[in-house]
């Protein structure tokens, strides 16, 4: 009797839903089998050797794929899986650093490209489906809803070169170059003095800040430098300041698991609530009809994920294809 009462008490006081019936659970996800089949055919798995680093959108039968540029493997182990076929010859043909999108090419003639939705302008609350972690042969999915207004996501903290300037110097002079920044890629060095940006003369630190104020993450700026008495000119990729100097994770970031390092500075993004991670970005975002209404571009935090809307995605596809075939 006592045991029975205790059991009842537990059931009455606290009930818990089995994990397979939760929003990301297998029983719920099973309702999206039609959309999963689209992912099976028309999403690409991006691999670094055997490790999945992201997904891609198949945009043509003859092997063109869009993916998230900043998550591409740097090691040379780039490989792609579409459906159940593995491709080890993968070319990176072009990149758009503002949108953080790369165009890949694999050797194939019978891929099934995504079917673009006529518009990304759907009501909030509309179901969307994206790639979840995959097995070697089977794509899995995650589902969620469109969750906020489609809008620009400005570079977090503003656009920056990735340098720390000397505090005591009146002219902007480099004290240190941040790792993985545009400044590092362009070879900026300690003690370099910045003379001009995009032809605009810079004499004070405040003028440098003004010149960068309207800059966009991913854009290149042309710098004239003075280095050891000589003038040097370089092009530097701008990035979001908060993404370059990441030493301070705030509490919300700590609650957000494995978010995308590049998660701001997008000219326009559709927001959804799919519980992804940095490792599942780059693939198509599908509606219930299995049509592509966007491309997943960032897991920003626990509550917010961003996708490039289909209108801009189509434009990017055309532009990058043109760039790739001169």
């Amino acid at each position: 009797m006592i045991v029975f009462a205790g059991l009842l008490g537990t059931v009455k006081g606290q009930q818990s839903l089995e994990s397979s019936y939760r929003t990301t659970g297998s029983a719920v996800v099973a309702a999206f089998e039609a959309q999963r089949q689209v992912l099976q055919q028309s999403s690409a798995v991006i691999l670094d050797g055997r490790k999945e680093t992201g997904y891609g959108v198949v945009i043509s039968a003859d092997g063109y794929i869009l993916t998230k540029a900043s998550e591409l493997p740097k090691s040379g182990g780039l490989a792609v899986t579409v459906n159940q076929t593995n491709y080890h010859e993968v070319k990176v043909l072009a990149e758009d650093l503002v949108w953080d999108v790369a165009l890949l090419k694999i050797e194939s003639h019978d891929l099934i490209p995504v079917d673009y939705a006529p518009t990304s302008d759907v009501l909030q609350g509309t179901w969307v489906v994206a790639n979840g972690a995959t097995s070697r042969t089977t794509r899995r999915l995650l589902a969620g809803i469109v969750s906020a207004k489609t809008r620009e996501i400005p570079a977090s903290g503003g656009a920056a070169l990735g340098v720390i300037l000397k505090v005591k110097s009146k002219v902007p002079q480099v004290e240190a170059v941040q790792q993985k920044s545009g400044a590092e890629e362009a070879g900026l060095q300690k003690d370099d003095v910045i003379l001009s940006i995009n032809g605009k003369k810079i004499e004070k630190v405040t003028e440098l800040n003004d010149a960068l104020k309207d800059g966009k993450a991913g854009n290149l700026v042309h710098l004239l430098l003075r280095r050891k008495g000589e003038e040097v000119s370089v092009d530097v990729r701008l990035a979001a300041r908060a993404e370059l100097f990441t030493d301070q994770m705030d509490r919300n970031d700590q609650m957000s698991g494995d978010f995308s390092p590049r998660r701001s500075g997008f000219p326009r993004a559709l927001q959804h609530d799919i519980l992804g991670s940095r490792a599942v970005q780059g693939g198509p975002l599908l509606d219930l009809d299995g049509r592509c209404i966007g491309m997943n571009i960032a897991r920003a935090n626990r509550s917010e994920s961003f996708a490039i809307p289909v209108e801009e995605l189509k434009g990017l596809a055309e532009r990058l294809m043109k760039q790739a075939k001169p």
């Binding site: 009501l123 207004k149 609650m255």
Partner: protein, 309 residues
Amino acid sequence: MAANERLVVNDHKAPENRQDLEMIQNAVRASLPKARAATVCIEIKGGSGSGVIVSPDGLVLTAAHVATGVKQKVTVVLEDGTRLKAETLGLVADRDAAMVRITEKGTYPFVEMDRDASTQLGDWVFALGHSGGFDHERGSVVRLGRLVRIADSTFQSDCMVIGGDSGGPLFDLAGNLIAIHSRVGAQMQVNMHVPTAVFIDHWDKMLAAEFIGEGPYAEKPVKGNGFLGLATDARPKGGLSVTKVGHGSPAEAAGIRERDVLLKLNHVSLETREQMQDLLKEMAAGDEVILEMERGGKPKTFTFNLGER
């Protein structure tokens, strides 16, 4: 849809087909405009949380850890950016429930509350809130999920909430308020909400601005720990003359200077130093003081909050 109509999809263990999925989607889409209009951002002491309006005259439900105390001045921000003066009413410190009233007269968009705890485990729900703070371009953020755990005075959902959402609303598919966001764990599945039943159980006391229960979500004000930061001397002709203003004190921040003459504290005429100290002993950190005074023969009134001793 009638507010009390229970959607059949809630009684399916999982959505069975496209029709079930569309039922959820259509319900969220239909409920969102009204739910969103009633969802607010609450700004207090440099921090920001969320809340939801539940009456046309501007009663707002939120979390105790957002309100932090009773009778505090706060700003309520509507979805369209309208900023409204408000004050906190009562709270339940051990259940993370609090009430706020918009003090500016008006008729406000509001939502209905689930009054008979009709929600069940597995029900589809949606969360709204100003994740990470108010963002006019973005608006409040909606998230869909299910009720994954029901315990005494706590709901858990798999709607992903984050800092800034605290105090925001959790709705059933009909758009009835069922709970208020309370706290999250590092694990994505851990999103905790305070059911409306907790508010209903304490309604009258909360309306009367009572501080109910002990921590952990709000600390009870301690009588006598309020800090003003003034030294005074009684004047023969009444009032107290300020002889010193403490550096970095609330009095200094409010703009009080030496040689100002204090006439009334919260409408009580001041006669002696001891009398003012007795008045302050009955107050706590965060309480509002209204000081009526005279500077260079001209009347002046300062209103500010006591600091913590």
